[in-house]
Amino acid sequence: MIPLSWYLLLSAALFCLGVVGFLIKRNLITVFMSIELMLNGVNLSFVTFAHQWHLVKGQIFVFFVMVVAAAEAAVGLAIIIAVFRARSTLAVDRIDLMKL
């Protein structure tokens, strides 16, 4: 008998850890991985609520999130490769051509 609030708290913790990772990591790829971590945390909360309300649609939503995350990972990594080719660095702070 695990109260569902524990699952939800775990999900919130994973999400916030993802945000922290996004803020403090200096490698572009690692930042991207933090984003995946955030998505996973959200997935967990979806599944939890699907269990609570006995809704299949909650799980289907997770399915779609996974699909989109996959596509996004592919494109995002391609972008990282292109950026690396242009700037030959993966340090987040060095990629600042957009500054005024």
Partner: protein, 170 residues
């Protein structure tokens, strides 16, 4: 039993996530993330989502993380260097995260009608899931396949080396 399983694998999740933050080499971070994915798959199973657990392993841990690892190795990403940080990031970001976490935790803990999970809860069968997926949500399903196609095209276009462009070398 349920409790032990939950605590062990929730612990693995958190440990993997924190390790991701603490490691300096991206490959170590990637491997930690794989640990997180697999633990999450077990947790899905505990919540009765058998298809999602499988899909998590296959798609996330098996495909996406492999892709990450390939890119890390392709770009020969080394240890992170010390670069000038962002003061705004620390001053504004951390309190914001704390606020977010605190708020959500408060809401969750105050919620009245959350249920609980146990091992004897019915598992959502794949048949059930596919029935809904291919009947009601057929259109979104097909659209996602188009989405994947677009993503493939985009990835190929982006990552392809142009004419005369400097090849990745070290």
């Amino acid at each position: 039993m349920h409790l032990i399983l939950f605590i062990v694998f929730a612990g693995f999740c958190l440990a993997g996530a924190i390790n991701l933050l603490l490691q300096t080499h991206p490959i170590n971070s990637a491997l930690s993330l794989v640990v997180v994915m697999c633990s999450l798959a077990v947790l899905y199973l505990l919540l009765g989502a058998e298809f999602l657990a499988a899909a998590q392993i296959i798609v996330y841990a098996g495909a996406i993380m492999v892709l990450f690892t390939f890119v890390v190795m392709l770009l020969n990403a080394g240890r992170e260097e010390r670069t000038l940080g962002s003061r705004a990031g620390k001053v504004i970001g951390f309190p914001a995260v704390v606020v977010i976490l605190g708020l959500i935790a408060t809401v969750i803990l105050k919620a009245q009608n959350l249920g609980s999970a146990s091992l004897s809860d019915p598992i959502t069968s794949t048949e059930e899931l596919s029935r809904v997926l291919f009947h009601e949500l057929l259109l979104p399903f097909e659209v996602t396949s188009v989405l994947i196609l677009v993503a493939i095209l985009g990835a190929v276009a982006l990552a392809r080396a142009g004419d005369g462009e400097r090849r990745v070398s070290k």
